[in-house]
Structures are given as C-alpha cells and as structure tokens.
Symmetry: C2
Subunit: 235 residues, 2 copies
C-alpha cells in the first residue's frame, strides 16, 4: 500500500566496467552498463564514485609523500592528529586528507586526487548519457567522507547535475497540520550513501542507478551542500 | 549484469499506519503494513522513524519551554548560536537540540524526546516481527541529524538490532590487490538515509523495508557509531 508521493525505490549496481585510465570515455562505459541493466528512465539518478571520475580525468599522480600532496590539495587544515588530517578542499568540502587517497589507485606509488570541478564532471556525464538515451538523468559524483562525532564513513555528493541537492521543507505542513520549522534534507547525500550500499569498495562496481526517488527540482551544485563559513560552528 | 556480492536493493515505504499514541503496539502495526507489502524475507531491514518509537513509548511531553527540555535531555552542550543548540545526548549522540523536536508531535504544545534506549526499542521490534513472520529482520530506529560542515540533515541510526552497524574493510584487498587501509563504512547510517528517501517527513510514512543489502554480521548497537571521546577532534 504505497501512498501518493511514496514509491518503491530501487538501487541497481552498474558493473562490468574495466579498470579505468586517463582519457577513457566514462559516459560511454556507464552507458554500456546501463544498457545491460535496462537503460534509463525519466527521473533516474546515476551515482558514480569519485575515484572513477578522477582516474579518467587524470587526477592521479605518483608520489611517496602523502602529507605533501594533502597539504597542497588543502585550502586549510582544520584538525590534525598523528596521520589523520581533517582539511578543507579547494571546493570547500571538509574531509580527511583533503580527499587524497591511495586505495583503488592505478598502482603502487600512485595517489588519487579529487576532480577539479566535480559538478562539471557530473554535468558532462549527464549531457552524454542524455544524448545516448534520450532522457537526462540526474548525476552524482560520490565520495566516502568521515563525520564529526560518528564512526565510519558514509558516501556523500561532491558533484552533481540535474537537481537540487537539498529538499527544503520549511513551511510545509506535517501530518498534524503543524509547520516543519527547520527541515532541510540533504537528499543528494542520502542518494550517494544509498548507492554505496550496492557499490562496495572492493568489487569493481563504480556506479549505481537509483530509480523511484522524487528529486527536488533545480539546477543545483554540490557546493550548495557546503555549510557557509558564517554558519559553521566547527571551524 | 550484477556481479557476485552486488545485488539490486529495494526500498519500500511502509504506509497506512494510524497516528500513533502511547501504548500502541508498533510491532503489530508495522507487521500489518509489512503483510500489505509482501511480508519479510531473511536479510530484510526494517527502518522505523524515531518519532514513531518515541510516541508509542510515551516519550512526549507538554512544554512551552524548548530550551529547558533540551538542556535537561543533554549530557552537555557542544555549541550554541541563537536558537541552535548542538548537544550531546545521554546516549552519546551529538545533534541539534539533543534530539528534542516539535514537528510531527502529538499536538500543539507537545514536544517529542528521543527514546530512552533506542537499541532496546529496536530489539523488541525485531523479536516481535520475528515471532510473527518466522524470520528475524534487522531493525533500525532512525532520526534526522544535521552534520558539521554540510548543509541539510540526513537520517542516521540511533538504535539498531540484528547486525553490526559498521562494515570494517581494513585489511581487505581492493580491485588492484592493494589493502584498504582505513575503510570502515557506517552501513547503518547509509541504510537510515536510504529509508528517508521513501519516508519523507510529511506523508505519514514512518517506516520502510530495505531488501538486498548484505549486512555485516554481529550483535551491534547504535552506540558503536558514536566516536569515542579520545578520537573526537570536535569536542
């Protein structure tokens, strides 16, 4: 019994992609995986792991000095304890190691950096998939971020195209007729986390298709998800 | 083309529950909604909104002094700016208003508190659903938390039963044969966020069933998700 506005959501892993290298046509490879999985429909969301995007964009380098790379990629360092560096990236995201990471790198001695403009990466994938399938999907570039006060990472959106990442319910009415005073939901981050449930970290599944979510309309950016400095209580 | 270990995940809203009151049999009502939705299978996860649990457990009160209630429910206050209080609850969770909230309350002048022991709430629901359906679901009690540095709330697990909330990949091998050094995924929080995608805040859908996720085995607690004080860089 599904009421109006509440539908079943499905999350499908997009598998079968090869090991990715700089210059690979990620949209074409994702498109092939989508064809294998039944294609695209209006309203679908394609979530792609940051590491896949970074590799095809050549955002990898050989280095044996992680800290030097982290400090170069960071706009500023928020906290540091032993090997752990919590830093703000040039995009404004606050995360461990400024998003720099060796796991799933192209090989030993290689390190993967965040895409320079993950929103632009998402927009390009959206346009190319839209051209192939005749419907424009929402696209999210996701990465695994740690959180203050909570153990473990969850995947969040660091780039996106085709929707607004925040569902603003301020002023809407709850089931009892009471206004929801301060509810803004980070839908894009919930979608990125949901996709992680089928992608895993080790299985070579860099993307997922999510179907059935009513997305907030708009021409959003992952930067909409960044807390502005004047509201940041944990600088 | 779904590889071993990667399956389609489905998220189904559990609707049709009445407005809940203290003493209502939430497990029976969820069970009825599950019957309408095809029942339970081995490995299913039932995610229930904290507000539903708090109401049937009588964790509501009449008050016109939000701040007094927040400070009473808080173990300590981490930050405060105007009306916004970031506080640590007795359970150890750090969130806005110590989890105290007026939206979707039983009526004007009422305020909803967090369950006293959300893990125990989840264990009771798991046992009752297991008795009715012959399979024990994993159960999550979820709430919407804001985050440091990021706009908007995502739903996270504040109580759980029947699995371990963290997928510990330390020492496993990535697609290139390289060890994943520091990867622990907060699966329970990603599940709670995924459920929010179908529940919404205003539609009277207080629960969801998630099928197809390989859960980390264990007898976990939502307290496993709390960063221990010695590792908390944002006290």
């Amino acid at each position: 019994m599904i009421p109006d506005g509440a539908r079943e959501v499905s999350i499908l892993p997009l598998a079968g992609l090869p090991e990715l290298r700089e210059g690979d046509d990620l949209a074409a490879l994702l498109g092939d995986a989508l064809v294998e999985s039944g294609g695209l429909e209006e309203g679908d969301v394609v979530v792609v792991a940051q590491k896949a995007v970074s590799k095809v964009e050549g955002r990898v380098e050989r280095s044996d000095d992680d800290l030097a790379v982290i400090l170069r990629e960071a706009r500023n360092v928020r906290r540091r304890r032993d090997d752990l560096v919590i830093a703000e990236t040039e995009h404004g995201f606050v995360c461990a190691s400024a998003g720099v990471d060796r796991s799933n790198a192209p090989g030993d001695g290689w390190i993967v950096l965040l895409p320079r403009d993950p929103d632009e990466s998402a927009r390009r994938l959206r346009a190319a998939l839209g051209e192939r399938f005749g419907v424009l999907p929402a696209v999210i570039v996701s990465d695994s971020f740690g959180r203050a006060w909570r153990q473990g990472t969850t995947d969040v959106a660091i780039g996106l195209a085709g929707f607004s990442p925040l569902r603003d319910l301020r002023g809407t009415i709850d089931a009892r007729g009471r206004a929801l005073e301060s509810t803004i939901i980070a839908v894009a981050d919930e979608l990125a986390g949901a996709a992680e449930l089928v992608c895993g970290k080790t299985e070579g599944v860099p993307a997922a298709r999510i179907r059935g979510v009513g997305l907030p309309a708009g021409d959003g950016s992952a930067r909409d998800l960044v807390m502005p400095p004047e509201r940041d209580l944990f600088p």
